[in-house]
């Protein structure tokens, strides 16, 4: 009998503990606190100069700032710098440091810190640079609070790269201990669980509204609606139309914008059979973006035909959409010509935490059946995607969205230069390399735009990838909050979100 009582006590104690664990993440009423759902952990790096994933950079946007910073219209305004001037010949840039800008550790930003950051991103001596536009820097120096950068050749886009994050020179571990000047400071990170941010009260500009921010990792795309309905997250920046439909008549407001990325089935141009341009073209003829948008996204989304999305304005070429209109016969003929009359089998690696990409891949698999090509979807974790697909280039095809790090055509197109470290699809075309190089050094705006457009046409005509769409971005935000702003690049500006009246 005694034993039984002890056992009973033990069991109830265990149950109590287990139940406590369940209730922990419900957000409480106070609206100076927000829980934001994000689809992946910030695996790659918290170091702003090293991070590559769009999902990481959109969060780091809140922690770090550059000398200049983009606003929600895509224009640049002075941030860590108070003012800047560009010489007549476009070769000399002078930035005047803003007085009293502090890092999150309380130290003042000095010209030394800025020089350190430029040096960190510039030529490492072997002709490589973290920011390739910095290879063009001839020299840089500081005099008091004035920082001067001299270029070898004029570059009309150079200012865009001064959005480069300013970090303190004496921070030894920017990867795990991020210190910036942004409106939010980093508090902690629990891998695969959450990232905690706190408002930076010594921020030089308009301070953020919400004090405590928890970024909760929702790696299971299927449970996002449940998380929102259950109140464990207040905000999710990218939900699908079907998920949005579930949230009708709930506590959530759905905002609609564009995601500003190029969603495509990216093909590894170096592996068989995708090393044959005819095979790639055949896939383009077989895949119908409009049908994908209708089936998976309720008609919301803009079909695109090259590595450029509409927010880019003058660089965007709408006509690239019409190059590969669905044509099964032509696709089959091309396959036959390439020696794959009976089709072939390949796998599409899709990160399992991105529902839009999974949905797109499912429709593609269906569409490719029509030309006898069998595609298999392989769901992989986000960190394996980064290491195997992006860095390791070990894949045949993948469905993903590629973003622009800044509002320059270069940021979209440069990655396809044959020797670029970001060229994960192994695209290689000497003509493309030549044109892009020429474009980078052309000062005349009209001529440069024309060269960039020629590059886009090469990507389209060579069918570098099966281009699909610029996704519609549906944001679910609890009605307790307001003020979310869409940007023309892939960022999530938490500082603008405020409690609703």
């Amino acid at each position: 009998m005694k034993k039984r009582i002890i056992a009973l006590l033990l069991v109830s104690a265990i149950t109590a503990v287990a139940l406590c664990g369940c209730g922990g993440d419900k957000t409480e009423g106070g609206s100076s606190k927000i829980t934001i759902g994000i689809p992946q952990d910030l695996e790659d790096s918290l170091d702003p100069h090293i991070a590559v994933a769009a999902g990481t950079k959109e969060i780091l946007f809140n922690i770090y700032e550059g000398l200049v910073k983009p606003d929600s219209d895509g224009n640049l305004y002075p941030a860590v710098a108070e003012d800047y001037s560009i010489s007549e010949d476009g070769l000399t840039y002078t930035f005047k440091l803003r007085d009293g800008v502090k890092f999150h550790n309380g130290n003042k930003v000095t010209a030394d810190d800025v020089l350190y950051c430029i040096e960190r991103n510039a030529d490492d001596g072997s002709g490589n640079a973290l920011i390739s536009a910095f290879l063009n820097i001839d020299g840089f120096s500081a005099e008091g609070n004035d920082i001067t950068i001299k270029l070898k050749e004029a570059d009309p886009d150079f200012l865009q790269y001064m959005t480069m994050a300013i970090i303190p020179k004496d921070n030894e571990n920017p990867d795990t201990n991020p210190i910036g000047t942004g409106p939010y400071k980093y508090v902690s990170r629990s891998p695969q669980e959450n990232i905690v941010l706190k408002r930076f009260d010594d921020y030089w500009g308009e301070k953020a509204y919400i004090e405590d921010v928890t970024l909760k990792i929702c790696a299971n795309a299927d449970t996002i609606v449940m998380d929102l309905m259950g109140g464990s997250i207040d905000f999710f920046a990218r939900i699908t139309t079907a998920q949005a439909a579930q949230l009708k008549d709930s506590d959530y407001e759905i905002l609609e914008g564009t995601m500003n990325l190029v969603q495509a089935m990216y093909l590894n141009n170096a592996v068989k059979p995708f090393d044959d341009v005819r095979v790639r073209q055949a896939l383009c003829y077989a895949v119908d973006p409009d049908e994908i948008i209708d089936l998976s996204f309720d008609g919301k989304g803009t079909p695109i035909g090259s590595s450029m999305f509409p927010a880019f304005g003058k660089y965007y070429i709408e006509e690239t959409n019409d190059v590969y209109n669905k044509d099964i016969d032509k696709a089959k003929a091309l396959l036959k010509e390439a020696g794959y009359a009976d089709g072939f089998t390949f796998s599409i690696k899709v990160p399992s935490n991105y529902q839009p990409h999974i949905d797109t891949a499912q429709v593609i698999v269906e569409q490719l059946k029509a030309i006898g090509v069998t595609a298999e979807i392989k769901l992989i974790e986000w960190d394996s995607w980064l290491s195997d697909v992006y860095t390791g280039r070990d894949f045949e095809a993948t469905v993903i969205g590629v973003d622009a790090s800044s509002m320059t055509a270069r940021s979209m197109l440069e990655r396809f230069v044959s020797d670029s470290s970001k060229n994960f699809i192994n695209f290689s075309d000497p003509e493309y390399d030549k044109l892009l190089k020429e474009a980078l050094t052309t000062v005349d705006d009209a001529k440069q735009t024309d060269l960039y457009k020629q590059c886009e046409w090469i990507l389209t005509n060579d069918a570098a990838n099966v281009y699909i769409q610029d996704l519609a971005q549906l944001v679910a935000i609890n009605k307790k909050f307001t003020g979310y702003e869409f940007y023309p690049i892939y960022v999530l500006d938490i500082a603008k979100i405020k409690p609703a009246e």
């Binding site: 299971n220 609606v225 089936l295 529902q355 298999e376 769901l379």
Partner: protein
């Protein structure tokens, strides 16, 4: 057989037969191609054309359930086969010979049993990636310990019986004793644990696919379908309800059978 047992047995048999027919049907031909998408049929309700309705891509849920049952059955059967086969080998060898080998293997067995099988499977999938065959291997390994333990216990009991001692005196080899004299006596205990194991395998497959670790989209398995349907559960519950019901029936049928067989 007493009456209530008989009722249980027949109910179990009927339900299992229905599920099996569904699986075979899924193997031969489905009313619609389970993969064909149709914009106009998105979330279509129950009708004569689509008896279970359609999912978010306008795919026929009934056809997908048929194929899903087939996939789930196939995976579960393979898992139980791996578990039962290797479990029996390990169980008989350790139970019969005993000694340090028994100690060694059984301690490993205990360690494996200490993990929930889903957790163990997650580790294996973490190492080899996700997919149908990886899932089979992962769950198969996770199922070995329970079989090994049951079989070992049974062998321990049998090996000390007089008739075993008698054949030993006749000079029968260990191999002959194991295969001819011990294995046939494991039949009943194996049969009921296979049926119970099959139930667990169905649930484990559904659970793993639900977590996104098993069958890759667009292929249906019952767990996968549930997982995909949960997003739409409030507006169009059909896609979740039918696979759910089928899983429940599958388990019920086998449980009833397992309860009556071998006792």
């Amino acid at each position: 057989m007493e009456r209530s047992k008989k009722v249980k047995f027949i109910t179990g048999l009927v339900i299992t037969a229905v599920v099996l027919i569904m699986a075979v049907w899924g193997m031969i031909k489905t009313p619609y191609d389970p993969y064909t998408m149709d914009t106009s049929a998105k979330f279509a309700g129950v009708s004569f054309r689509h008896v279970f309705g359609c999912d978010q891509f306008g795919r026929d849920i009934f056809s997908r359930v048929l194929v899903g049952v087939r996939e789930t059955m196939f995976i579960s059967a393979c898992v139980v086969f791996i578990g039962a086969f290797l479990g029996t080998v390990i169980g008989t060898v350790t139970g019969y010979f005993g000694g340090w080998l028994d100690e060694f293997l059984m301690r490993i067995n205990d360690a494996l049993l200490a993990f929930p099988s889903v957790l163990l499977a997650l580790v294996v999938i973490g190492l080899f990636g996700s997919g149908k065959y990886q899932l089979i291997v992962a769950l198969g390994i996770a199922f070995i310990p329970s079989f090994a333990r049951i079989v070992r216990g049974e062998v321990l009991k049998i090996r000390n019986l007089d008739y075993i001692n008698a054949v030993k005196l006749y000079g029968a080899s260990n191999f002959r004793i194991l295969v001819v004299h011990i294995l046939p006596n494991l039949k009943t205990v194996l049969l009921s644990s296979i049926i119970i194991g099959f139930n667990n395998a169905v649930l484990a497959e559904a659970g793993m696919s639900y977590l996104g670790m098993g069958v890759a989209p667009p292929n249906p398995s019952l767990g996968r379908m549930l997982s995909e349907a949960q997003t739409y559960i409030f507006s169009s519950p059909l896609a979740a309800v039918f696979p759910g019901i089928v899983i429940a029936f599958m388990i019920l049928g086998f449980s009833l059978l397992g309860d009556t067989v071998g006792k």
